[in-house]
Amino acid sequence: MTALTWGRRFLMCPPEHFGVLYEINPWMHREVDVDLDRARAQWGELVATLVDAGATVDLLEPQPGLPDLVFTANAGTVNHGRYVASRFRHPNRQPEVDHDVAWFAGHGFEVVDLPEGTGHEGAGDALPFRGVFLSGYRSRSDAGAHGPLSALLGAPVRPIELVDPRLYHLDLTFCPLDDRRALVAPGAWDSYGRKVVEALVPEPFALETDEMLAFCANSVVVGHTVVMPVCPPRVGRQLEAWGFDVVVVTVDEFLKAGGGCRCLTLALDVAIPGAAGPPPSMGNGAAR
């Protein structure tokens, strides 16, 4: 196996203004209080763990009134130093974009925009694997965004329909581990999406319902280290059998807003060469 070519440099945003101030996914409940000190400590431990594993972390300045800015995975999609700004579905998160764009523009990235009217929530819904971006749609991103996104990223984008509103972003259902393996949550995709992933991932590890709902797939991979919000024994045994070091970082304060380890990070070093993996077979009546 060959380790992922990306995942050594991340953008993160300290949780100074984090909280559950609105409800835009089934996990968010405004009556649940966030323990900010605890959130700060958990976030700090995540940073330390990533750095220990060999990654560097860039910081985005937190902004009052933008509690979800902490989930930098949704800031946009990056490939080869080009940054495609997100277009958020919910108005609560739309003001984040100006701050994201300012950071990327100030750090040497080429900033590009999706056409107006095409919603896409960044790396939260677009993860690279074997030369292709898989892109979740329906809950937050539009299926129609994948064409323009592909053109802007210079890489193929294959949209996958997310059918479980609890798993509203792709990064809650899919975690690339190396060049052949990934944690996958087929239960969160429609039958077409399952076929697409099946054709793309040579060695998938399929998560059970409770495992995917525990945000198992929302993990960050740095070389051979998998940083997970939770690691059920069955998943841990498989990852260790494959030679990964598993580190669990408790981020339960952030789970209150529906985000785990991956949501708190955005890989800045993605550089997909533009060669796609094999397309799925067109069986079961899908062929025309």
Binding site: G144, S150, P156, I160
Partner: protein
């Protein structure tokens, strides 16, 4: 009333199975689709694009379906009225004119899709002052006529896949000599009866071989019995029909014993000359010169016929159109109401007829030569069902069924 919209889906729609999914969603909703403007990327990094016309039973079903398709990235394409440009001079179309097919066609005028009155291939579309649209052959366009240009705002409907007791069903290959003829003839007879019961008209297009093979009396019987409503042919067919009635020969060969008499080669010329002397076939019938045969029955039963001329015609008979453009126009004038066409041992007249027939007309092409049948289809008359057999045998059997 069915309703339709055009949606467009693009990106990596093949590898992501999005296209397959969109089509499945359409079919699952009980709607139908037609794909056009499909561009498939050459490599798996190239994007692909497809425009899909979605047709549902009613507006409500369509609206719900289009909303669902949008979720999967298939967006409604704004539809525009057909663009028109005025013909600058008589008989010349504006550049970029829309060239028609023989399929049912609709044109979007003033925000509404209107049916084209008379589908015909290789013509232009002219929008009439009252908002209707009709096909107009090139030579009949007049300066100032608003002619549809470009493809926007025009759509054609593929013919329904035949269902039920259609003869197309028992013919899996379109043209074959390997079919049981008895059964074929019986089914064609059944279709003709059904067409007539539904008020349709039956057109036959006859080549001279109909007379040479001795099938003239069978065709005459069909005319007399009211089965045939209109006849297209050339100088040869009509001449040999009259020759066989007046002199008992076809191109000089007696239909009885087949022994050519001396000077028989000029028989047809003498017949043509006598008809010309009388001014028309009808006049020759009235005068008692022609006393039987196909043309005689047509005159007697007021079955209209169009005889189209060609450059090698002898005579020709006075009824023959020597102006091919006028001949085609005369044929067009006889088409309204025609729902079944029989092309009988005729190559040139069958193709000429195929050119002016809408695709919805059930067409049977009977010829001993498979190439004739294939040729007709290759010229765009895809609806033609070929029956490879001797036309004489075919007509005798058909007359037995219908007379």
């Amino acid at each position: 009333m069915s309703a339709s919209e055009v949606v467009e889906v693009e990106g990596h729609i093949i590898d992501s199975l999005i296209l397959a999914k969109v089509l499945d969603v359409i079919v699952d909703a009980g709607a139908d689709y037609r794909m056009f403007d499909v561009q498939i990327g050459h490599t798996n990094t190239d994007a692909s694009r497809a425009r899909i016309e979605v047709t549902a039973a009613d507006d409500g079903t369509l609206a719900a379906l289009v909303a669902e398709l949008q979720i999967h990235g298939a967006n409604r394409v704004a539809q525009v009225d057909a663009a028109t440009a005025p013909a600058e001079v008589d008989g010349v179309l504006p550049a970029g004119f829309y060239a028609t097919t023989n399929l049912p066609t609709q044109v979007r005028v003033g925000g509404h899709w209107v049916d084209v009155d008379n589908p015909e291939m290789d013509c232009s579309l002219v929008v009439l002052p009252d908002g209707r649209a009709r096909t107009v052959p090139m030579h009949r366009v007049r300066a100032g006529d608003p002619v549809v240009v470009g493809r926007d705002g025009v759509r054609v409907q593929p013919l329904d896949r035949p269902r039920g007791a259609s003869p197309f069903e028992f013919m899996s290959s379109d043209v074959s000599s390997e079919k049981p003829k008895e059964q074929l003839v019986a089914r064609v007879a059944e279709r003709i009866r059904a067409a007539k019961a539904a008020g349709g008209r039956v057109l036959v297009v006859c080549g001279p071989a109909v007379i040479h093979t001795g099938a003239g009396p069978a065709v005459a019987d069909l005319v007399r019995a009211g089965v045939i409503d209109v006849l297209f042919a050339g100088n040869g067919f009509a001449t040999h029909d009259i020759e066989s009635n007046v002199l008992g020969t076809s191109l000089g060969v007696p239909l009885g014993d087949g022994q050519p008499p001396e000077g028989g080669h000029s028989n047809h010329l003498r017949v043509i000359n006598e008809v010309r002397r009388r001014g028309s076939i009808a006049a020759a019938v009235a005068d008692g010169y022609i006393t039987g045969g196909v043309m005689f029955e047509c005159v007697g039963h007021q079955v209209p016929f169009v005889l189209g001329g060609s450059v090698r015609d002898d005579g020709p008979l006075p009824d023959v159109f020597t102006d091919v453009v006028a001949a085609a126009d005369a044929m067009r004038a006889e088409l309204p109401g025609v729902t079944v066409a029989l092309m009988l041992a005729s190559t040139l007249h069958a193709i000429a007829t195929g050119n002016v027939l809408p695709a919805g007309v059930e067409t049977y092409c009977v010829d001993i030569n498979q190439a004739v049948v294939t040729k007709l289809a290759d010229r765009g008359s895809h609806q033609a069902l070929g029956i490879v057999t001797d036309v004489g045998l075919f007509l005798h059997m058909l007359a037995q069924h219908l007379v």
